[in-house]
Each structure stands twice: as structure tokens, then as C-alpha cells.
Point group: C2
Chain length 341, copies 2
Amino acid sequence: MPSLRDVARLAGVSPATVSRVLSGSAHPVSPETRARVLRCVERLGFRPNRVAQALATARTYTIGAIVHDISDPYFAEVVRGLEDEARLAGYQVFVCSSDRDPGRELSYVQALISYRVDGLVFAGGGIEDRAYQRELAAVVEGFRGTGGAVVALAPNALRVPSITVDNYAGTRDIARYLLGLGHRRIGFVSGPPHLRTSRVRLAGYRAALREAGVRFDPDLVETGWFTTEGGAKAVASLLERCPDLTAVVAANDVMAFGVLHELAGRGLRVPQEVSVAGFDDVQMAAFLQVPLTTVHMPMYQVGREGARAVLDILAGRPVRSRRLPVQLVIRGSTAPPGRSR
Amino acid sequence: MPSLRDVARLAGVSPATVSRVLSGSAHPVSPETRARVLRCVERLGFRPNRVAQALATARTYTIGAIVHDISDPYFAEVVRGLEDEARLAGYQVFVCSSDRDPGRELSYVQALISYRVDGLVFAGGGIEDRAYQRELAAVVEGFRGTGGAVVALAPNALRVPSITVDNYAGTRDIARYLLGLGHRRIGFVSGPPHLRTSRVRLAGYRAALREAGVRFDPDLVETGWFTTEGGAKAVASLLERCPDLTAVVAANDVMAFGVLHELAGRGLRVPQEVSVAGFDDVQMAAFLQVPLTTVHMPMYQVGREGARAVLDILAGRPVRSRRLPVQLVIRGSTAPPGRSR
DNA sequence: GCGAGAATGGCAAGCGGTTTCCGGAAAGCG
DNA sequence: CGCTTTCCGGAAACCGCTTGCCATTCTCGC
């Protein structure tokens, strides 16, 4: 693989000149020399070694994305947005699936810092664990101290700029809507309790109940993993505890898929017997046979804005945290409460 | 951020010694010195700069994954496998979504080479375009010439080790199964014609027809993008051309979702009026209200083995191309042909 | 005609590690 | 006891690119 020296030798100039031609330096280079250098670059098929550039300039043009699981459609969509925006600016992105494991997350963050990524994006909600948060915060602050850009794309204990959506309003709106349809016994399939997103979404649901003067019944809440299986299991226990529920709100679409599956397995019709709502509006949601009522989250958008924020920070432009609005999307999986079963 | 020199200074040794202690060199270091160095590393919280290491050793411990679209559940799953295996070996992975665009793919490959990735994994099927293939092959060969490891996870024109699945057998088995149920007018919703995977899957379908002595009718084939929308549109035209079809095989699950959606929209019941089968067995497939009959592809497994293959090549271990078996998974979306509509 | 300043280009010192080569001390050998 | 090995550590040369600083030449302005 040709190096800059090879080009320099071929063009009969010094490496410095070649570098200046290629990296758009302010240092003047005569048009003839420039042309000659470019011709030699072409001839040799020279492409600068990013590693060496990175060492010299302390810029790697890489961004690390910490997600909970890239195979979760939510995160896949976010990462796609991130990647598209990064590519446009000449950056590459590393994916890191932490599986919501504090140890894994921390070791990924440290690895990324060793790789000297320019930016770090936390796509998933923070893990609620004081000791861990403190440790992570220390590492992250160190990183920022050396010029690293950090952005969060979900509620997080880190004090960094964030691009989030209004999770609270989302579940509140959904619950309001179901209450408005006449439902009173609304189950809530929540995510893992140690995730901040879970708590915020649960809070939105409770707020709507409070507004409507409906007593909050802890029996109507069941937690599970943010997976299809998690949703199926959770709704199963919910149904056993509260056979009288007429609607279920799932903390995200993937869980809602599990809920739908479990209900179908039990012969309960949606929405005639049980209404179901999700959260996120992943691509599949609209394509189910019973299209899912859910809250639209602009995930791709969040990913793009996240990347933009990183680039802005790196460029020294001011960055403000933003909260994007969400929107209730009413589809076929919800209806007024039906006859008792 | 502390450097190796800082550690050396603090420990009162030369940088060389610190390096030897940390990178497990064969060069002997006395136990006392070693301990002292490690203590200082600890004290300063020193972590080696991967960029500098990379420049010195010509190993970056990174792998580039070229996928068609990370937000497609198929690729997300593959990348997850890749990532998990890579992590275990201390590697990081770059994701690159080419959207099946030759230009984008090529520029990603070149960028990754500039970043001096150790390995390159092509997760998607190759794009059938002679000029492009030649150009890509040249670049890839150059990369391999410098010690880069390249692996393909789908049929591809590149002459590199591959971990693939038996796509041909997959659609053949599905078609055989449907023929066995008594279907004769079986629509095929194919992927983009310029993708190798599309062609192989179509060939499998044709092989089964041939075996069964059923004439192949080109009208029963419609191509579209490997997306839900693509599947919906394709089946729509198919139905207009051939209202007599009793079953539809989609070239992948994502398209099958679109097919199901479109059929539901037209009031056609599955499987009573039309049987539907997919390919891939993405996670959602089993969780539809009418669970999808499909061909199980071990995507996560393919991802892992792909990473393993890269690591093996880098370690100089022999690597052989492998073809993993697929398996027909019969679920609720298929049944013998029903009464005419 | 001459000095100032702009235009060009090269030298060399990094960036932060790794690794080859070398030297001194200690240990093993006949 | 002298000599060869082995053990341990350091000096310094990279890896490939960037950039501050300096030298030369040229162009003006007066």
C-alpha cells in the first residue's frame, strides 16, 4: 500500500507538500506542484492512512454508538439515522450492544475511548444503578475533558446534551385515549424497572389515570424485558391477576407484539375483547394484520440529530438538548371496551 | 490522558519496558519491575492508545461490516452475531449500510480500508453488475494482499471464503411443500433482480416446479424491493395478473409481511384463501397473529461464524467456505388450497 | 536599486506506541 | 576461574501523517 512518502518521491516533492495538497491546508502550494502531486496520487492509487492521520491530528472521524441491542428494531432504526448523518460528514460508526448490562456498557465505553472515538452516543435509556452511574459519569467526564463529544438519545443520568422524545407525554396520551374510549381497567406492560425509560413511561400512564380520577392499581402493572417474549409473559401474568382488564398498554412495540401473540393464543380477540397499544411505532407496527395503535417515535430522526449534535460539539458549535414531540397513532388494535368475556 | 511515557517516568523505567509488560511480549521482565509498572498503570488509570498501537503494529482490531440496511431485521441479527463474536476477541465493528447501492458500497469499502480495518465482512448478497464487481474485486484483492481478511455471508462474486446458507434449497423446499399441499398456482414475490440472492432463491422455486412437472409461468413472478412495501406492491400486481393464485412465496420475511398486509387489506384470508410463506424466519415471524411459515435462516449464527472466519484468517488458521443448512418452519400461514373465491 | 513581505517548499519534530539491537550483569559450564 | 549463555532493561528507529519553523526566491513599493 503506497504511503505519502511514495507519492512525494514520485512527484519529486517533500511529504509535507503532498500532505498540504491533500488535506486542504492553508499553506500555499503552486498550481503546478499541486497538479503534479494529484497526478501522482492518482497514479499510485494513494489513500491516506486514517490511523496515521488520527495519531497526528487526534481526530479519528469515528463515533461510537452504545445501544442496548442492535437487533431490536428500535435501535436498528436509530443507528441507521446516526450512520447516515455520520457518513455524510465522513465519519464511521461503531456499534456496541450492551444488552443493558452495566459491566458490558462500561467496558464498551472504555474500549471506544481507547480507540479514540471523537464522539460517543448513548442511544438507550440509562441504567438506574447509583454505583454504576457514578463510575460511568467519571469515565465520560474524563472523555469530555479531552475534547470528546457525548450525546444521549434517551433519558440518562449523564449531564450531557440529549436528543430525546417526550416519553412521558407518550404513555400519558395513550392512556388518556383509552380512558376516553371508556376503558377503566388498563393493564400496563412495563419494561425492566432499572431502566429510566421504563419509569418515565410508567409515570405517564399513571398521570393519565390520576387526571381521570381512576385509582392506580399496582396489580395492573407487570414488568418484563423489552422483548417480544417479555411482553407475552408479562401479559400472561397480568391476565391471571386481573381477568377483568379491557386494555393493555405495552411500554414498547416489541413487547406489544408479544402481547398480541399471547392474546391470540388465548383466543382473545383484539380489539373486540382487549385493546392493545404499543410505543415506538417500529416499521412492523403498521403491517400487522391488526395494525397496532402506538405512539410514533421518530427514531431515525433521533439518530440523525444525535449525530448532528456530536458533529456540532466537535465543531465547537453550541448544542442544546432537545425534546422531540411524539404522536399518538391510532390504528386497529384499540376500540371501546367490549362486552365482558 | 496519560501516555505510556508517563507511566514509564512514574515507574522509573523506559517506555519499552512498560510496553513489554502491557502487551505480553516474549521479552523477559523481572517480576518486581512488572509489578511496579502495573501499579503505576493502575495509579494513572492508563489505557493504551489503540490508534498509536495500530500505527505501530498494523493491527487495528476493527472489522467492517457491509450490510444492505442495518434497520432490516435480517441484517441487524447478523450484525449482532458478528458483534458478539468480535467483542469476545477484543474487536470492534463498524456498520455500513449500503442500501444496495454499488457506489455507496464501494466508497464504504474504500473508507474502511483507509481506516485499516483488519477484516471486511460482506453481509448482503452481491450486486450483479459486471463493471462494479470488477472494480470491487480489484479493491478487495488489494486489501487481501496487504493481509486483510475478507469474508462473505451471502452469495457473492468475490472469490473469498464464505459462510452462507442454502438459499436454493430453502425456496425449493418451500415450493415443494406447497406443491405437496396441492397448490399449483404459486406466486413468487422476488427481490431485486440485480441481487444474487434474489436469483438463487428464484431458482430454487423454479427447481421445485420442474421436479413436480408444473410449468413455470413468468406471470407468477413479480419483483420488488426487499422491504415490506416492496412485498405489498408486488403481491398487488401479482393478484391483478393472476387472480387464480392460491399461494405466495415471498423471497424474504419482510416482504412476506407486506404480502400479508396487502392480502388483509383486500379481505383475503390467510391461509384459507391464500397461503403465504416467507424466508429468513426473523424474530417477528413467529409472533404474527397468523404465524408465518418460512425457512429458518440462522442469521445470528452466520454473523458469529463470519466473525470467527475473519479471526481465523487473521490468525493464519485455515478457513473453508461453509454452507449452513436451512430448515423449513411450518406455521399457520399455509394450508391446502381452499375453495375458489 | 534595495529592503520588506508574500509565495513556495523543505526540514524535522512530534503523535504514542512497538520492536530491534545492544550492553551489562548474573548465572552456568568445563 | 575464564568464557559462554541467559536475563533484564534501555536507546533509538520506526509506523505514516501533520505542522511549526525556516530558507529561498520573487514581487513590489519607494
